[in-house]
């Protein structure tokens, strides 16, 4: 690494060489995160189809394979789907606003990828170890809604606009509950840095994970995450039985696929954040011999996969929420629960040291 830096500094001078070296290095890191992520997205769609198929006593995709290897049947499906989407025409409706129509999918996937900049994959492995990592993630995920609204408006279609309206109201309301749930996490960890949040959960076993003292917040955060990503049972923004396909009804080909990719990338992001905030990130469940020999990155992947399975399970199990029920759940159930929990947590933190040690919560503070 240092020899490459010296090479840059020889060519471009000391200051500019360093700047260019940083730029190239960060670009390489970004590619190293984004490419596996997009591969993960592709195989998440395959996993979704397979898992839901088995839950419904079907087989799922079982044809496309690589080089005719019989035991890989079905595994080529996401690649074949991607090729198909690339080949298809992007139809732009006559009445649409062309510029915004093309911009909308880009605006949807941009924050879904940008948020990964601060996600730590293990104790040392993080692209940008910034102080306000949690805030940065909240800011990025809150920008994802623009793509949906702009898509709905630029399509110049009533169905699309209805989908955009539903989605905007839903995402803005669930963001509040999500933010308040995260306030509890940062009250416990006393840091906005994601690495520090995981380190705050260290200590021998999974009893120290924030999952246990903050269990209601875990539920609120995860369910709000499902609502944020517009997944079933909160997928009223698409609602194909009511408003055809919602905001992306007029999209086809790659433009549609980008929306699709962004949805799955957001799912993986929510699962990763839940794993980091509540399930101890890269920490093993028990700090004893067979568990702590496995590298932390693998533990994080296992936790993400476990949470992603819930996303797919929800979709196969629950019928779609009615719109007013979604709003009720967000505003009248989740936000009061989180507000009360913040006050309770604050009171516990203010207890004198001696009382707090007798209190069952002393385990976690």
């Amino acid at each position: 690494m240092e020899s490459i830096q010296q090479l840059f500094e020889q060519f471009f001078g000391l200051e500019w060489g360093f700047m260019l070296f940083t730029l190239v290095k960060n670009l390489a890191y970004i590619i190293a995160i984004a490419v596996p992520l997009l591969l993960g997205v592709a195989y998440l769609t395959f996993a979704e189809r397979k898992i839901i198929a088995y839950m419904q006593i079907r087989v799922g995709p079982n044809r496309v394979t690589f080089f005719g290897i019989p035991w890989l049947r079905g595994w080529g499906q996401p690649i074949a789907d991607a090729v198909k989407a690339l080949m298809k025409e992007i139809v732009i409706p006559t009445g649409a606003n062309k510029f915004l129509f093309i911009m909308a999918p880009i605006l949807t996937i941009m924050p879904a990828l940008a948020a990964w900049a601060v996600v730590p994959f293990s104790a040392e492995l993080v692209l940008a170890d910034i102080n306000a990592g949690l805030l940065y993630i909240l800011a990025m995920t809150s920008m994802g809604i623009y793509g949906v609204i702009i898509a709905g408006w630029a399509s110049n279609s009533k169905y699309a606009f209805l989908g955009a309206m539903r989605s905007a109201a839903q995402v803005v309301s669930y963001e509040l509950a999500m933010g308040f749930a995260l306030v509890c996490v940062l009250m416990m960890s006393q840091s906005l840095n994601l690495g520090d949040i995981v380190n705050g959960q260290q200590g021998g076993s999974m009893l120290n994970w924030y999952l246990i003292p903050l269990f209601p917040m875990f539920l609120v955060y995860f369910i709000s995450g499902v609502a944020e990503t517009n997944r079933a049972p909160f997928d009223v923004a698409e609602g194909e039985s009511e408003i055809v396909a919602g905001f992306h009804v007029d999209y086809s080909g790659m433009a549609f696929t980008v929306f699709f990719l962004a949805e799955y990338a957001n799912m993986i992001l929510v699962a990763t954040l839940t794993a980091i905030m509540f399930l101890g990130g890269w920490l093993p469940p028990l700090d004893i011999a067979p568990f702590n020999m496995i590298p932390g990155f693998i533990w994080l992947l296992l936790k993400i996969a476990f949470l992603l399975f819930f996303f797919l399970w929800f979709r196969a199990t629950f019928p779609r929420y009615r719109y007013d029920q979604i709003m009720r759940l967000g505003w009248k159930v989740f936000i009061p629960i989180t507000l009360i929990w913040i006050v309770v947590l604050g009171l516990i933190m203010q207890l004198p040291e001696s009382v707090r040690n007798d209190f069952p919560y002393h385990l976690w503070f």
Partner: protein, 201 residues
């Protein structure tokens, strides 16, 4: 000119162009989106000033929540441009006068000595463990605690007032009681009747 200067000029140019676009654009949706762009570039400038908490909060609050609702309202408006331009020249002198007064006020403040370059030097690079968020919280909850609490109460009052203004009890509307819906049992709704089989004539 070093790297930071280039970043500053790029962000400033985008900020000025997009801010001009907000007022010049004919399409109100473009105006709202350009305002979003100017917020984001503004946040970039604040990052250069090492105010990362304020920068990210600007994006989180204004871009993530306020402008979403704003954009939303703007999209639903049906704006007739011809009607909007009616009487433009009649009101032009008033508008121009107000604009001049505002420009003069801003110029008077900005040219004061307390905004000079000596008074406001570039921020010193902070050590790695310095947390902007902690520092801001400490100041807010100690020195400025009364002003802070007062602002919070003001916001709460505004929120309650807004809800109270839109709240009206309608007699003709059927409302659902979710607690009653949930507590319904099978016995309340369903009656199983045992009937002897009937012969088909």
């Amino acid at each position: 000119m070093n790297f930071q200067d280039i970043v500053f000029y790029v962000f400033s140019t985008i900020l000025i162009v997009s801010a001009l676009g907000v007022v010049m654009s004919r399409n109100p949706v473009y105006s709202a989106l350009l305002l979003v762009l100017s917020f984001i570039t503004c946040a970039g400038l604040w990052l250069l000033l090492e105010a990362e908490f304020l920068a990210i909060t600007l994006v989180l609050v204004y871009v993530g929540a306020v402008m979403v609702l704003f954009l939303f309202v703007v999209m639903m408006l049906d704006i007739n441009l011809a009607q909007l331009r009616e009487g433009f020249w009649r009101w032009f002198p008033v508008g121009g006068l107000i604009a001049l007064v505002i420009v003069a006020e801003i110029a008077l403040i900005m040219s004061g000595s307390y905004f000079s370059l000596e008074e406001m030097p570039a921020p010193e690079p902070k050590p790695a463990d310095y947390s902007n968020t902690k520092e801001l919280g400490r100041v807010l909850y100690t020195e400025y605690v009364y002003a802070f609490e007062l602002a919070a109460v003001l916001l709460l009052v505004a929120m309650v007032a807004a809800i109270a203004l839109t709240l009206r009890h309608r007699e003709d509307k059927k409302s659902l009681d979710v607690a009653r819906q949930v507590s319904v049992k099978k016995e309340d709704r369903l009656r199983i009747v045992s009937m002897p089989a009937e012969k088909k004539e």
